[in-house]
């Protein structure tokens, strides 16, 4: 087990570095960091001055390792756009995104899992067809559009929820619904097919031959098998939510990492963008790793 975790950890680390490397090179070759620092009003000679002063004229490899070294010592660089250390920015913004991610995943769980279970227990029934149409629709609705429509309905026509902001948990309900919706289809489909597979499996036939039936059969014999893969999918979805919060946070003016990312891209704020890509990648990798470990822990077949 330890060896497995260590191995996966090393691979994850390598992936993280590859991503940081690619991002850094891409951003620093195709954009001019000196221009970004200097700002839009800067004169030509000022840009050149900044280039030497900040060391942007040195080889890109040197700068990459310097940047990487900075990350290890906790120095994430300074944002040109926000005039702040990127690390501080991240710390300020992360709580909102974490809240949003957790809440949207709970929305997904609350909708997708019961729906998937009922659909699997009654294949080709009305519930099943309903669940399937929910999945198909949720896949086809663009996030940004859903956000706008929900605001029209639930904040303006019927003022139940606040339009925007991130002050209280209450503010997070609509955004969580929007962000959670996009994960409903995969989780629901997996729950449905997983449970169907389990129900049609030989060991459920064994349980039925013993006399188990109905709800008792599902809860005592089928659910655990079907839920195992779901847990890892949810962990992966949670990892996705961090990067995927970009649009939702913009529509609902939630001051999280996603909005920070969008603003930094639009403001050509390279230090922030490259750290954010790195951080989102790491988050995804960590959740993936956690899901693997969790799976290995929960599934006796994978235990060593």
């Amino acid at each position: 087990m330890l060896k497995f975790v260590a191995g996966r950890f090393l691979v994850s680390l390598a992936v993280a570095f590859t991503i940081s490397f690619v991002t850094f090179f891409f951003l620093n070759i195709f954009t001019d960091p000196a221009q970004a620092v200097a700002g839009e009003e800067a004169l030509f000679e000022e840009i050149e001055q900044i280039r030497t002063q900040y060391g942007f004229d040195r080889p890109i490899l040197t700068r990459y390792f310097e940047w990487l070294g900075g990350i290890f010592t906790g120095d994430f660089g300074v944002s040109y756009y926000w005039n702040k250390p990127v690390g501080t920015l991240l710390l300020e913004r992360a709580p909102q995104t974490i809240k949003l991610a957790l809440m949207s995943v709970s929305v997904t769980i609350m909708v997708a899992i019961p729906l998937g279970i009922f659909a699997a227990l009654n294949p080709n029934s009305i519930i099943d067809r309903f669940a399937l149409s929910v999945a198909v629709s949720a896949q086809a609705i663009p996030n940004f559009w859903l956000g706008l429509i929900l605001i029209i309905i639930f904040s303006v026509t019927f003022p139940i929820f606040p339009v925007s902001g991130d002050k209280t948990y209450y503010h997070f309900i609509l955004p969580s619904v929007v962000l959670g919706t996009s994960s409903v289809p995969p989780v629901m489909r997996l729950m449905r097919t997983g449970l169907l597979d389990v129900i049609n499996s030989d060991y459920i036939r064994t349980a039925r031959s013993i006399g188990f039936s109905g709800w008792r059969l599902v809860t005592k014999h089928a659910l655990r098998n079907a839920v195992l893969p779901i847990i890892s999918v949810i962990a992966v979805q949670l990892g996705h939510k961090f990067g995927g919060s970009l649009i939702t946070e913009s529509v609902f003016a939630i001051n999280g990492l996603g909005r920070l990312a969008l603003l930094s891209i639009l403001g050509a704020d390279i230090p922030t963008v490259q750290i954010l890509i790195f951080v989102f990648a790491i988050t995804f990798i960590v959740f993936n790793l956690l899901s693997d470990i969790l799976n290995a822990y929960l599934d006796p077949r994978l235990r060593l």
Binding site: I19, L27, I277
Partner: protein, 307 residues
């Protein structure tokens, strides 16, 4: 010719023939006939495609002609609407119906283009990794892991904001970032097929590797690739709409639905049709493509029965 084929296949006598006597294509056709989701998706998609691609050839309309004295006219069903502008006009006095109809072409072009790019990358890597295995597979897996860990939309926006936006750039970038599903599916299918006896048999009769890949492996993965392709078209269309919505996508005055929604966003409360109509168009197109894809998956899956 096609009609004859359809007639032959919908003929009750034919349908009731013993399953053992049907070719794989016949079985798929029969499944398709009984698959309501597939039929609905196909019908909807054909209708949308017909309207978007062919109607502009016959009906005189322009998505670009402006008349700024006739801006923001409401659609025909609202107060003050007229049949001249069925869906009303936008902020520059352009016919909104024409813009939405022309938007179909943009979405389809980008969807199909990006999915093709993704397919070329994903299938090539997938077949190579699946067939050769070993170190090649490990390298490809590593690339896959990296790609999966990359925050997609963020990276997409970053690239487009740096490279600048045009139709080609959008297609290429979305395509380059959406190949993982192709890879995963092709690789798994190739790995499975590679170990089947008929591949060993092909080996034994002296067939070359390329011959095996093109004669034995690809045709067997094709169904799955088509399914993924369909679904990825939907994903790419949504991705384009998203980046256009954020102002980084297709350049104006090209009528992309994402751009239309973004342009109408400010008027969400007073000219809501500006958002709702392209949103519905987008929804219908993607849902039809997804239903088609889901349907294809069921139809081509040998494990499902004919319903």
């Amino acid at each position: 010719m096609i009609l004859k084929y359809i007639f032959r296949h919908t003929n009750p006598d034919f349908l009731n023939r013993d399953l053992e006597k049907l070719t794989p294509k016949d079985i798929m056709f029969r499944k398709a006939i009984y698959h309501s989701g597939f039929k609905f998706g196909l019908l909807l998609l054909s209708t949308i495609t017909f309207i978007g691609v062919f109607v502009p050839f016959f009906v005189d309309m322009s998505p670009y002609d402006q008349d700024i004295s006739k801006r923001l006219l409401p659609p025909v069903w609202s107060e003050g609407g007229s049949w001249k502008y069925i869906f009303g006009t936008d902020g520059n006095g352009r016919d909104y119906l024409a813009r939405i109809i022309y938007g179909t072409r943009v979405s389809l072009t980008i969807g199909i283009g990006a999915a093709t790019v993704g397919m070329l990358i994903g299938v090539t890597l997938g077949v190579i990794a699946g067939y050769f295995g070993g170190i090649v597979d490990q390298v490809v897996s590593y690339i896959l892991t990296c790609q999966l860990a990359l925050p997609g939309i963020l990276f997409l926006l970053t690239i487009i904001s740096i490279v600048g936006s045009s139709l080609t750039v959008v297609i290429l970038v979305i395509g380059v970032l959406h190949w993982t599903l192709f890879l995963v599916v092709t690789r798994a299918a190739t790995q499975r097929i590679r170990n089947l006896d008929y591949i060993t048999a092909a080996d034994a009769i002296g067939a070359r590797k390329t011959n095996i890949i093109f004669t034995d492996i690809l045709p067997n993965v094709l169904n799955q690739i088509i399914v993924i392709f369909t679904l990825e078209v939907g994903v790419a269309i949504l991705a384009e709409a998203t980046i256009s919505f954020l102002g980084l996508g297709i350049q104006p005055p090209t009528p992309s639905w994402g751009v239309l929604i973004a342009e109408g966003k400010e008027a969400i409360f007073f000219q809501p049709w500006l958002i709702i109509l392209p949103g519905i168009a987008l929804f219908l197109l993607v849902i039809s493509i997804n239903m088609l894809g889901d349907g294809l998956r069921d139809i081509t899956d040998p494990n499902t029965s004919i319903e």
